[in-house]
Symmetry: C3
Subunit: 359 residues, 3 copies
């Protein structure tokens, strides 16, 4: 039988006051600064003794009914009704939350040092304070920077370089010669550096493989979700620049470049040799065809199909193939009304035909 | 060289009569109850000595030509021609098939007990008759219920609770603090509890991670396919309710709730904090945006993009963004005819222009 | 700190002349046959001492500015300006590249023989010159052909047959009874033979599993990307025919057949019992519904949804649901112009109304 009480067993046993939290996050208290907090909660199901937050305006209504004892809100927050909770006003709710949560977070544990069941091949350089978990395989020529955490069943191929302070979660597979920068996080079962999809038909119509001799280069501060695939370049490098954040189940094909601080949501795919600019926001399930360029700061709506270069910085696009965002919405609004428009056209036609008979 | 004869080598050596099968599934025989069956087959390629079934009416034509010796059919089945096979009439073909196949099924084997290469950390509670295969890692604080089968190279993070009678296939990774109910099945290389995708920009436009402190809670009787990802909640739980069935390569983002007995086909994705009702049927490659609600019993056509809450129970939707199913089909039928409609509009325009000249 | 110099460290130390390369690939030299080459480069960022190629006409402009010393071009290539590089003219640039790259390629290393941490169950037949890496699990009854390379943390279920000269990359999971032909390549963390998605509702609306008793059969010369899932058949076999190439993150449901030499791009999905013909080209993120047939040589544009059988060989389709490719483009061009067409219709209506008043 399923025992719902187990759901919250994992909350750590913190016991702090609203005032102490406000100090921690640099906020100001409105209400009781002595109320005691023992864990976080969601605003719509908050319990006494917990802290929650209001960042997304869609959830504003819940602040009047939440049973949480403390709510983190923006400095600019204006109440439209009575609030029972103590408020902590901060400059940026999410940033404050990040600080706060880091205090409460208990991550996946990992014994320091190298587990006895890990296989470390010859000629490997391992930095200080590195943890390598059970059943990991590190092949020869690998370099691992200081303070890396490599979880169970990870595979690191020949000559891979991993920078300092990286976390590689269980089951990640990194093929030979790939390069990972500092402070990167790669989630479970993601594959880095498998062969790009390149074949050429021979005279009999069978496909001959084009060897994929390049690698994948991931710069500093990149975070990659679970079950992602980033293929190695045919020649040169598939390049994921500094600060990029990739969600789960994403496909990055060979020779792609993703610009700095670009964020891509789950299940999107970027085809071979496409070059995505910096600071782009790409929704889920987007497809981007090969050999095109997307300018900096472009926003691509979920499920769009980008079939040609987007050259305007900061453009917003939508649809498959993708159009200007507003234009797509206008066209789609009329797509919905097509039965009405067709009827109107048909009616007009009979009127004109009658007029033609008369004249 | 590929040897096609190997394809069927795996059929187990059963040898039963149509009459015995009818008894097993509670059906009635029309034809020879003594015909011997040694394995299952597909209706369009059936061989003498095998049993097949007719459930989907699309395959009805094959019943007149199949060489299978026995066909499972519905009580209401009416033949339009001569049938050579013996029929077994049952109330529910699929349910009968399930009973029948369970008899013939030989699953992935697993030695009882704990393999010597498995790594079991301290403070782990393991129930009776549990099998833990080679190269599994079970971290500290884990509780595993009776009769669980945990295949090779699985990783179970700290404090995870797994109910009784669960099957966890090879390579599954379960992060810390997640909770799994009784009689759940999780297929290979699926990831449960990796970090939700939450970042907030700092003053320099770099993204700062919002710690994901929650967990994933999976209730009883849930089955999850291969290479799925279910992210842990930022706060609280991502919740997969009783009886949910998820196909392969699905993305479930942080703080999502999936209602009881909802079924989701492959490669669909549900964005953060969306709440999906009970008994929904969601097709493949569907995208559902974050922070919306989908009512109970809603049917979502494959490849649809659900961009706003669907409040009507049992609604059928289609399109991206999704519309009422019938309305989408009507609009799409006219989308196909747009060249014709545009021509018609253009012709009408010239007629009117001529009329205007005349008057 | 990220050190970009590391990006090219992996290039092997070859040192050959343009003339020697021309001989290797059967091409003719235009320019200096004695120029020395020490590695490959991309045409847009080529460096002296490297060889690059021009195959896609989109990149033609770069041939006039590339700093690479040698460029592989087609026999038919005609220069529109001055070229500094030495050219090697060949019949097929990609085929020549394949030959050339195979010479420079240094793959993922693997110690010959069976690693001591690999678990090999009883009754396993292993051919000559097979390598089985660390933490691999081979269950009983498995047959592995000559010269196979099985990388770390792979799982091979009971009675699986693998032909000769196969490469199975790290973390692949193959369920029991599946059959793989000769010279196949399966990339990291792909799952072969997990259960098809089959459930039938009982009288209470709960879903009962339909046992999936079949297997997956993969013929010779098939290459499969990373994090792909191919489900086993409910009865019989899911069949991937000779020479098929599957990109990453693809879903192949139970009982599907994929015809010879068909190529499928990343993140596409094929639903249960669909039969795809030979020589098809299927773009990325395509969805194909169950129980339909797609004829030989059909081309399906990325993100299309194929909802009914495509019976014409060589047909090109696009859209969701998919239409004839040209017709989709015509309709979509008018979809973009819908605001204009609606305005035009509205204007025409007022004109007609005025005419009607007059007459």
């Amino acid at each position: 039988m399923f025992r719902p009480k187990q759901r919250l067993f994992y909350l750590c046993k913190m016991q702090v006051t609203a005032g102490q939290i406000a100090e921690l996050v640099g906020g100001s208290v409105a209400g009781d600064p002595y109320v005691k907090i023992s864990g976080p909660s969601r605003i719509e199901e908050g319990k006494p003794g917990t802290i929650t937050f209001l960042a997304n305006p869609k959830y504003k209504e819940h602040i009047y009914s939440t049973r949480a004892s403390v709510v983190l809100v923006d400095h600019g927050f204006v109440a439209d009704g009575d609030i029972n909770a103590t408020l902590i006003r901060v400059e940026n709710v999410y940033a404050a939350l990040a600080v706060l949560m880091a205090r409460f977070n208990i991550g996946l544990s990992l014994t320091q040092g190298i587990a006895s069941s890990a296989i470390i091949h010859q000629n490997v350089q391992i930095g200080d304070e590195v943890s390598i978990d059970d059943h990991v395989i590190i092949r020869s020529g690998v370099v691992i920077g200081d303070s890396c955490r490599i979880y169970g069943q990870v595979f690191v191929g020949d000559n891979v370089k991993i920078g300092a302070h990286c976390t590689i979660y269980p089951g990640v597979k990194i093929y030979h010669n790939c390069v990972i920068g500092d402070r990167c996080v790669i989630h479970a079962n993601t594959v880095i550096g498998s062969d790009g999809f390149g074949f050429t038909p021979d005279e009999n119509g069978n496909f001959v493989k084009i060897p994929q001799t390049g690698n994948v280069v991931i710069e500093d501060y990149v975070e990659i979700g679970s079950n992602v695939v980033i293929d190695r370049a045919s020649i040169g490098s598939t390049l994921i620049k500094k600060g990029v954040k990739l969600d789960n189940l994403i496909q990055i094909a060979h020779n792609v470049t993703i610009g700095e601080n670009t964020v891509i949501a789950a299940q999107s795919g970027v085809a071979g040799s496409a070059r995505i600019g910096a600071g782009c926001m790409i929704g889920g399930q987007v497809g981007i065809v090969g050999h095109i360029e997307v300018a900096d700061g472009v926003m691509i709506q979920a499920q769009s199909g980008v079939a040609s270069s987007v050259k305007t910085k900061g453009a917003k696009v939508y649809g498959s193939p993708a159009l200007d965002y507003q234009n797509y919405l206008k066209s789609y609004a009329l797509f919905r009304r097509l039965p009405e428009l067709a009827a109107s056209l048909s009616e007009l036609k009979s009127k004109v035909d009658k007029l033609l008979v008369k004249t």
